[in-house]
Amino acid sequence: MNQPIISFRDFSFQYRSLSEPTLKGINLDIYPGEKILIAGPSGSGKSTLAHCINGLIPFTYGGTITGDYTLRGKRPADLSIFEISQTVGTILQDQDGQFIGLSVGEDVAFAFENECMPQSEMRPLVEQALQVVDMLPLINQSPHDLSGGQKQRVSLAGVISMDTEVLLFDEPLANLDPASGKKAIELMEDIHQKSNKTMIIIEHRVEDVLEQPIDRIVVMAEGEIVAIGTPDELLASSMLQTHGLREPLYVAALKYAGVGLAKEDHPTSLELLSERSEVRERLSIWLEKELDITARSASEPILALQDVKFSYDGERDIIKGVSLHIGRGERVALLGNNGAGKSTLSHLFTGIAKPSSGDVLYGGERINDWSIRKRGEHIGYVMQNPNHMITQQMIADEVSLGLRMRGMAPDAVTARVEETLRTCGLYGYRNWPISALSYGQKKRVTIASILALQPEIMILDEPTAGQDYKHYTEFMDFIVSLSDQGTSFLFITHDMHLALEYTDRAAVLHDGHCIAQGPTSQVLTNIEAIAQANLKETSLGKLARSTGVAQPEQFVRHFIQHEKKVKRDE
């Protein structure tokens, strides 16, 4: 056996500012040429492990290290962060923040510049690296003209050009829409096959990463490694589910149907599984089971767009005649890729943008001329990043802000804030500084601050971005409980899972048109619309198609109802 390139022995790490170690007793060997997925929920320590691998620990973030970490047999303490960066190339999570140059070419050349490479040698190497990631034609573009996926590819080119032995991807799928995410994963596999570099992917979206081959998965939870195995071994076990990670949906469906999975069955291959007659039989039996969950009945529209068009410059329409409505108490998903016009549509609802033709209706009344503030009294808008909304130090102040703005009497404000905090499960934290909360809790505070205004409908922009499966589920269950009390919700998202499990209806936006609208299970299995909008069909639809046990729509509906039943029974 050859020597591991990366080796942890009884390794622990504690940040200087924390009282508990973040990594505990890590033992891990990674061999040259391996492609490894390190998965775990937020707070499991997987990002900290990444920082140890690329040298940010101990060179940028200080703390106490016990045990051993060696990179090609050397301890980081004997190297500098620069020497480490010549072995480990890192692609950070924040696609925008890590883009340093004012143009694509400059950004790729950044490492060369720091190595004092003469300009004449730099240019061909930069072009070559951009060729690999298929970005050469955009060499002179500025970062503001690029999408998130394109920025990530530029960063990847920058790292490839350094020709490091190890490529480390820190949550490469965060903030990418499904199509860009799929492309990113394919590109990684392509580079792996051509260069045979060691690849380490830190990510909690296991299903998306497993679309391409992976050698081993390392599962982390609470600072420890809880499982290491091949994808087949781990999918056959219940390790992912136990540790707050989401299994691929088709695997979950098979398990619900009582199909026993062993690693010899190759659970990573949906195609192989669906060829087996036992799988088909079990699924058919499962599908026949009656699930007594009644669908929610349709209600009168609360907020609607009627043939709305919008253009920024008066020439080219961004929204090209969209009609869409959200019923009272309904949960609707607005799906679409980046650039499809989703944010513009939310701006039209909230009054940030005014339609050039067509009507915005609230409870049947035309509200085209209402200001942002006036609409804000009925339509709540929650931004994706909670840090962009929070302006106060204390939770109670943040939640009461909007009420005070409206000039409500102090007693009434206090009463309303307390009630809201109770609903949101934040009452115990009411006197806490917001800075002490986790990301998910902050997100809850922003919801509370809008909820306190008692809007009829809330528009949530990418509500689950940046949250792992466990927090995601908690958060969405909380939203469901609010919606059961009568608030309507519009989710603007490219997360198919979110739409699948938590919405009644879905609409797909593509290039300013609404190309599909209807019950979620129907929209999500409409492969033409999904393909046209560059979204990704869930693996449930694929499983239904390849086994032929049921219509995809029926299959998906059955799966959702089964999940709801499981949840209710818990």
Partner: protein
């Protein structure tokens, strides 16, 4: 401001092609030259020459409009205030007093009017070259030129990276203020007193500063991981080499400078007043 957040306007004039350091040198010589003299007979041709250069650079008026008028308005305000506060100052400069108007608290003299005119043209003759410098210099290329003439690269690079994140901050500011309006915060006219509106703008600063700090952490990590600061010098992908034109202009600048100093030493170029005989 362009979408990329820089003021740079793509183009292909002599100024666009000039190296940033050569341009900076020219700008410096121009500035020293203007401040050496107090003579309107120098400022008028210099101003016209500058305007000629500005036209030759073919910068679209729409893009430079804001800065152009900012400078003009600022200059006019300056004149007006000078005239109002010290309406007889010109007489001190030239020793004669020609009253045009009695302002009550003082008299306005012809000398002062001419003094202010001279001053205005002095500042205005800086205007074209300033606009040229701002709008035809690409930040990274300028940073690389600064580095070459001896400015430490870390300082030069800070200059260029500041431009990288300006538009991000602008977008973020807009988004945050929209979300705040939806919660009932007033920013516009008629949406609260000046004090309240000011307070609301300040409160946006909190999330903005927070996200900037977060961004700085990411950026500095990204830079560390790609070897920034490892060596005492670095090279630049976007650096431009000095062309013949750069050398020519630099030489011309040196000659002009020497001549100007010689002329000034001989006593020419102090405040000039055409009406002394009056």
């Amino acid at each position: 401001m362009s979408k990329s957040g820089t003021l740079y306007i793509e183009g292909d004039s002599l100024f666009h092609r000039m190296d940033g350091a050569a341009k900076l040198f020219m700008f410096a010589v121009w500035t020293v030259f203007v401040f050496l003299f107090q003579d309107i007979r120098i400022f008028v041709p210099l101003f016209l020459f500058g305007i000629g250069l500005l036209i030759a650079a073919k910068l679209p008026y729409k893009r430079i409009r804001f800065f152009l008028w900012l400078m003009i308005v600022f200059n006019l305000m300056n004149c007006l205030l000078t005239l109002l506060i010290t309406p007889a100052y010109g007489s001190k400069v030239w020793g004669t007093t020609t009253v045009i108007l009695n302002l009550g608290y003082n008299v306005l003299t012809l000398e002062s009017v001419f003094y202010v005119l001279t001053l205005t043209l002095k500042y205005m003759s800086m205007m074209p070259i300033t606009l040229l410098f701002i709008f035809t210099t690409h930040p990274t290329r300028f940073a690389s030129s600064l580095n070459r003439i001896g400015v430490p690269y870390k300082i030069a690079f800070a200059f260029s990276i500041a431009f990288r994140y300006v538009p991000d901050l602008q977008t973020e500011f807009r988004n945050i203020s929209n979300a705040m309006q939806a919660r009932g915060m007033g920013f516009g006219k008629g949406e609260g007193s000046y004090r309240e509106r000011f307070k609301h703008f300040v409160s946006i600063a909190i999330p903005l500063v927070q996200s900037s700090l977060h961004r700085i952490e990411t950026v500095s990590n990204a830079m560390d991981l790609r070897g920034f600061g490892r060596h005492r010098r670095r090279t630049w992908f976007s650096a431009t080499a000095w062309q013949r034109a750069d050398y020519c202009i630099a030489v011309i600048c040196v000659i002009v400078m020497v001549v100007a100093i010689a002329v000034r030493m001989n006593g020419f170029g102090t405040f000039w007043y055409p009406f002394t005989s009056v």
